[in-house]
């Protein structure tokens, strides 16, 4: 399943590499990418897909949120539930 992330990033040394590196390192394939905008801020749209069922795009989103110089502006993520079955 592919999710789309919309991210605003600073136009600074290493910013694209930093973001793409994070997404791949955290276990996601990048299936599509569009960079747009001018000036100090750029808009990046990423189509991502987890490498296995253990990858949660919402956790990835929060890992992007905590980056300096990158902000998730909207994400069409599938809502994942954090409730798991608790053994009796």
């Amino acid at each position: 399943m592919t999710d789309t992330l919309h991210i605003q990033i600073d136009h600074a040394d290493g910013s694209l590499q930093r973001l793409i590196g994070l997404v791949e390192r955290r276990g996601f394939h990048i299936d599509g990418m569009t960079l747009s905008g001018e000036g100090a801020m750029r808009r990046l749209q990423l189509q991502v897909r987890g490498r296995d069922s253990g990858r949660c795009v919402e956790v990835l989103g929060r890992q992007i949120d905590r980056m300096i110089g990158a902000t998730r502006v909207a994400s069409a993520c599938a809502v994942q539930t954090f409730q798991t079955e608790v053994a009796a």
């Binding site: 040394d13 590196g21 929060r62 949120d65 905590r66 300096i68 954090f82 409730q83 608790v86």
Partner: protein, 576 residues
């Protein structure tokens, strides 16, 4: 007359231009930095030129990795960012392991590297490395400064990023032309402390979940000490009576001898801690991240437990284990708010508390091992008790690291410095150096092994140079003990490349560096050796010969759940 006065007015209005290097040094001074660990080289020479005559104390290490580890330990002890300085290329790449270590353990570290001039960046110039690119996955953030006038703002932002929220390492790369370039600007920014509001609704949910639990357990992580929440945690544990377990990096958050504290959980944790986790029906997770060394097989970790997760980092919530209640925000305020709610009525968890205490008594470590050779766990236990509340252990990585975690008594989390997440051999000696410089009044002891010690042995010269009275316990089993243990247990005793019986004479090596050293090879000499070590006025090394067959017990095999603890034939837990 007018012509004489005019230049003076101009000088007052416009400060004399200064080089980027001078601006860096004055910014660090203004930031309150007192110690910088570093090593000079071609691309950072303008900064070293500006360092002479500054108020900064520069500690010249003998390898850049030593600078990063020493600055890391300095930060862990003081709570302030550690600073290290290196040249481009090999100087910068030698920092990498230290940066990764700080990232994994959330340590505020500011690394400043020189680089080749901007005009030749990207041309494979001499000692040019894209250190920003190399370190991208292991820094919280990083910058290349491209205008000398930006230096104050970048440095101030770097310190702010390193220490705010969940701390971590940052890197500032300074090309040489930026260091020598002149600017009259000196503009910094003031970064106010981030204010994160507590979710009172989540605190109320946490309270309700705790009150509904029969077997609640506090799972303490390193985030508690980072947040300065140790007192809040202790008050919460005391007032509610909820038992607690700790990760490696949180040891000391609750005193080792406190009632209700069951010890470390995980692969080499105590049996009482792991049993409590597996039996618990509610984990109150405080600043921990469900590391695999703590959880064992994740899907079978705490199988009956709901989870209340406190963390300042929202990205940790739900990363590995679902949280039924997440309290994202400042740890101290969160624990205090929860404790205030819990104070309204006591919990009825006596059967659980009694069960945990009984388990802790039944499985308490014993130190009456047979034989007359040195029993390392007993030595470490005695060492920590002899050093008392001023004890700080700076560990290397291996069996001795686990023995320190299991057998030393810690009065506070700053008493235990260990490369937890990265597990970097070579941490112990430079970390001990940084810790002793940060807290000269403490009994700082590096506990190392014969494998780890050789990885940064050159820092003995730094101890000698600055007269740093670090004490070193070198536990020598003439092998890579933890690897040997795994080969014994999980690789059919096929011992591959773990024999170090051709080690140098460590006493002679230390003495050659000008450091007092002596050997302990019999159990009856341990107590006198500990006294000698602690009483030595300067740096001192005790070379301790231990049984190469000794293993770390108990042990949860990799990939198994924490209930499946192994113990060996030489098992000195209470239950044989």
């Amino acid at each position: 007359m007018m012509s004489a006065a005019a230049p003076a007015l101009q000088a007052a209005a416009t400060p004399a231009p200064r080089s980027g290097a001078q601006l860096l040094v004055s910014t660090l001074e203004r930031m309150g930095v007192d110690v910088v660990f570093g090593y000079p080289g071609g691309a950072i020479m303008p900064v070293y030129d500006a360092l002479t005559g500054s108020k900064l104390k520069h500690i010249l290490v003998r390898h850049e990795q030593g600078a990063a580890f020493a600055a890391d330990a300095w930060a862990r002890v003081t709570g302030k960012p550690g600073v290290c300085l290196a040249t481009s290329g090999p100087g910068a790449t030698n920092l990498v392991t230290g940066i990764a270590n700080a990232m994994m353990d959330s340590v505020p570290l500011v690394c400043i590297t020189g680089n080749v001039s901007t005009a030749v960046m990207g041309t494979d110039a001499f000692q040019e490395i894209d250190i920003l690119g190399v370190t991208l996955p292991i820094v919280k953030h990083s910058w290349i400064v491209r205008d000398p006038a930006d230096i104050p703002a970048v440095i101030e932002e770097a310190f702010h990023v390193a220490r705010s929220g969940r701390p971590g390492p940052v890197l500032v790369d300074l090309p040489k032309d930026i260091q020598v370039g002149l600017t009259a600007d000196d503009f910094g920014f003031h970064y106010p402390n981030d204010v994160m509001l507590l979710d009172q609704g989540a605190i109320a949910d946490a309270e309700a979940m705790i009150r509904a639990a029969e077997r609640p357990l506090i799972y303490i992580g390193g985030g508690v000490k980072i947040a300065g929440a140790v007192e809040a945690l202790r008050a919460f544990a005391d007032s509610t009576g909820i038992p607690s377990v700790s990760t490696l990096n949180a040891l000391g958050s609750i005193r080792t001898d406190a009632p209700g504290f069951l010890g470390m959980l995980g692969m080499h944790g105590t049996r009482a801690a792991n049993e409590a986790v597996q039996d618990s029906d509610l984990l109150i997770v405080l600043g921990a991240r469900f590391d695999d060394r703590a959880t064992g097989k994740l899907t079978e970790f705490a199988p009956h437990a709901r989870v209340v997760h406190f963390d300042i980092d929202p990205a940790e919530v739900g990363k590995l284990r679902a949280a039924h209640v997440a309290v994202v925000g400042p740890m101290r305020e969160g624990i205090e708010a929860l404790a205030a709610r819990m104070a309204t009525a006591p919990l009825a968890i006596d059967p659980w508390v009694i069960r945990c205490a009984s388990s802790a008594r039944r499985h308490a470590f014993r130190y009456d091992a047979p034989g007359d050779g040195v029993y390392a766990p007993a030595l470490l236990n005695e060492l920590s008790l002899a050093a008392g509340d001023d004890f700080i252990a700076a560990c290397d990585v291996g069996q001795h690291q686990m023995w320190v975690a299991q057998h030393c008594a810690f009065s506070r989390p700053q008493a235990h410095l260990s490369s937890g997440g990265l597990g970097a051999m070579g941490y112990g000696l430079p970390a001990g150096l940084g810790a002793k410089m940060a807290n000269p009044g403490a009994h700082v002891v590096t506990v190392s092994g014969d494998g780890s010690f050789m990885m940064n042995i050159q820092e003995l010269a730094t101890l000698r140079r600055y007269g740093v009275a670090l004490k070193i316990v070198l536990l020598d089993n003439s092998s890579l003990g933890l690897v040997r243990q795994w080969q014994e247990l999980f690789f059919d005793q096929n011992y591959s490349e773990v024999d170090l019986s051709d080690n140098p004479d460590f006493v002679a090596v230390a003495q050659a560096f000008g450091i007092e050293a002596f050997r302990i090879d019999r159990r009856e000499d341990v107590s006198a050796g500990i006294q000698r070590l602690l009483a030595a006025p300067g740096p001192c090394l005790a070379h301790v010969l231990i049984d190469p067959r000794a293993n770390v017990w108990p042990l949860v095999p990799p990939g198994r759940n924490n209930a499946e603890m192994m113990h060996g034939t030489m098992n000195f837990e209470g239950e044989i």
